[in-house]
């Protein structure tokens, strides 16, 4: 029984490396922070990190099936605009609003999945085009930035846990992992999603429910993206149909997925790795502020980090014995 640990270690290598890198960077960040790591600093940092982590989880689900979702950022923006309009008022209205926002996320995921699976279009083109549609819908809801969100809900999600100084957003993230990711990972559908990403042909030949697995992956991706939108609304207390915001989060989610050790060819990696990838990516951005560098350099710095992380993927070249394996 205990003899399979080298295999298990290899399976989780990407996730563990991401965790290690995050811990190192966060230690540098925390020890050099001018104010030190008090509860407020931790909460602000956690809120930013968790937002990206949720989007990265959404991206991971689709990437595992060797697809890509370039509309996650736009689903988030749409959920943000919708939440700023309906998640407000009496507790009943707020609860219904939250459900509606999550429902819209599921719908967006279902549309992406249906077009990719039953329409047999490529995920890249499909999600770019559906992203334009979702952005249009967001713009229809919020022509100018504004709106509001239920203050007690926002406070509960973005503040600190009662009786401690632990940021509440980390609890939200943990809840998402426990409620969405782990059940998916350990279900037959989740295994099927990994199988599809690893080799669709082999999965098909083994009688794996390919279509259902892919569809569930897109569905949950839309759901998680809408949770991110809801969370964004709680942070900013308003909704904004910003194309730049949507594109940035889509790009950063891919960066987080790569940093988190999830293979972009599909079939390997985990959402937990992507979460640490996202937290690491955020910490890298914040390191610049800690060391008092010109914020003008931040986009370049993040771009270079992203490029370096992408280049790490080339490490597989060292293991290739037959050059033909490089050509698909």
């Amino acid at each position: 029984m205990s003899s399979d640990w080298p295999y298990r270690l290899r399976e989780h290598r990407g996730t563990l490396l991401a965790l290690l890198a995050f811990v190192v960077m966060f230690a540098i960040y925390a020890t050099n922070h001018p104010v030190g790591l008090n509860a407020n600093v931790a909460t602000t940092a956690a809120n930013k990190g968790v937002l990206l982590a949720i989007v990265a989880m959404a991206q991971t689900l689709v990437v595992l099936t060797s697809g890509i979702d370039l509309s996650v950022g736009m689903v988030m923006v749409l959920a943000n605009c919708l939440a700023s309009a309906i998640v407000v008022g009496s507790p009943r209205a707020t609860a219904l609003g939250v459900l509606a926002v999550l429902g819209v996320g599921l719908l967006c995921g279902a549309i992406n999945g249906a077009i990719v699976i039953y329409g047999r279009l490529q995920p890249i083109v499909t999600t770019i085009a559906t992203g334009a549609v979702y952005y249009g819908a967001a713009l229809a809801l919020r022509r100018v930035p504004g709106g509001d969100v239920d203050a007690s809900l926002a406070e509960a999600l973005t503040g600190q846990l009662p009786g401690g100084s632990i940021p509440a957003s980390l609890a939200l993230l943990l809840a998402l992992v426990l409620v969405v990711w782990l059940p998916f990972r350990h279900s037959a559908i989740g295994r099927a999603a990994y199988a599809v990403g690893s080799s669709e042909l082999a999965a098909y030949m083994s009688g794996v429910p390919i279509r259902r697995a892919k569809f569930v992956a897109y569905l949950l991706s839309g759901l998680l993206a809408s949770v991110a939108g809801l969370f964004l609304t709680c942070i900013t207390y308003s909704g904004e149909a910003s194309a730049a915001n949507g594109n940035t989060y889509t790009l950063y989610s891919i960066a987080a997925v790569v940093l988190g050790g999830v293979s972009l060819f599909g079939g390997s990696g985990s959402a937990i790795g992507a979460i640490f990838g996202a937290l690491m990516f955020r910490t890298i951005g914040d390191l610049l502020f800690v060391f008092n560098l010109d914020p003008l350099w931040q986009p370049l710095f993040q771009g270079v980090v992203l490029a370096a992380a992408v280049c790490l993927g080339a490490a597989r070249l060292l293991h290739v014995r037959n050059r033909l394996d490089l050509y698909g």
Binding site: I124, A132, F301, L306
Partner: protein
């Protein structure tokens, strides 16, 4: 037997010459013009059509590079900021003095070629997925430009030569931008159909492994294709900077989706290996007309985004489905 075979082959040979996707794209162009002419008679006037072709040429130049990369079975998502790099470096060069003014256009294009080469090295040598490599290069290019400009729109104006090729008119009132697109297009057709490079591009798009085993220089061809795409995107940026007489932050953002959409609507397979340049021309004109008609009809911005996305999905569902989607 032989006759039966010949008659079986007949429709295929016919189809190879007249691509159904290209035909339907041209059909849609005619339909759009008819719809537009019901709305306003000026849609069929030569001035309006020439104006649309002029606007289309910017997208046409950018889509040409995108098409070559898509024919390889790859994609270039670095277009937005490579376009901006082209425009910004060309206008920056104009500010350097007489020599800079003379070399503004080549400098802009050279910067794009350099970024394209980085893409090419990532894809061909490091064997990384083109989608992430080009996204990373896009992020780096954005970072470089933010540092270069200080986050504001650069103050430098475009050089007279840039303005001349983007806004000027030549004989018979034909816009120069259209002539530029015609030259770029003719060169692309020659490159794709009459040279070893072009044949290799199609071969790699069909099956890279087979192309490699046949002794094709796949590595250098992929790198050259990405360099071409980068150069053409930057050239598009130079033209746009000439048109607006200055460069701006995020000036390339509205060109990524239209460029991909134009190529794919024109019948080029997103999986690579199949497609004709004529289809891309049709796709570019179709996208430009669609955008123009949506704005002339005074449909609000959100409606334009929705209609645009829906039309692209609908047209792809009609005839753009991948034959190889299951493997």
């Amino acid at each position: 037997m032989a006759e039966a075979e010949a008659s079986l082959r007949q429709p295929r040979a016919w189809r190879r010459h007249v691509d159904p996707a290209t035909l339907s794209a041209f059909g849609c162009i005619v339909a759009l013009l008819l719809v537009g002419s019901v709305y306003s008679s000026s849609f069929l006037s030569p001035e309006y059509l020439l104006q649309q072709l002029k606007v289309a040429s910017f997208l046409g130049v950018i889509a040409t590079g995108m098409m070559i990369v898509i024919l390889l079975g790859q994609i270039d998502l670095s277009v937005p900021w490579v376009v901006a790099v082209g425009g910004m470096m060309a206008t920056a060069a104009t500010g350097w003095g007489p020599l800079g003014v003379a070399l503004a256009i080549p400098i802009g294009i050279a910067c794009g070629v350099a970024l394209g080469l980085v893409n090419g090295v990532g894809v061909a040598v490091l064997r990384l997925p083109s989608m992430v490599v080009t996204l990373a290069v896009n992020a780096v290019a954005q970072g470089l430009m933010v540092v270069h400009t200080g986050g504001f729109s650069p103050q430098d104006a475009s050089s007279p030569a840039m303005r001349f090729i983007a806004t000027g008119h030549s004989v018979l009132g034909v816009p120069n931008a259209l002539l530029v697109w015609a030259v770029v297009g003719a060169a692309a057709v020659f490159l794709l159909t009459r040279t070893t490079f072009g044949r290799t591009v199609y071969a790699i798009g069909n099956r890279e492994r087979a192309a490699y085993l046949s002794g094709a220089r796949t590595r250098s061809v992929v790198m050259a294709a990405f360099a071409l795409s980068g150069g053409l995107a930057a050239f598009g940026g130079v033209l746009l900077a000439g048109y607006a007489s200055k460069a701006a932050q995020a000036m390339g953002d509205p060109y990524l989706l239209p460029a991909i959409a134009a190529v794919v609507l024109g019948g080029t397979s997103i999986l690579g290996g199949r497609g004709h340049y004529l289809g891309t021309v049709a796709g570019v004109i179709l996208i430009t007309l669609l955008q123009s008609i949506l704005s002339v009809m005074q449909i609000e911005e959100f409606g334009r985004h929705v209609i645009y996305g829906v039309v692209i999905i609908a047209m792809l569902l009609l005839y753009g489905r991948g034959r190889r989607s299951s493997d």
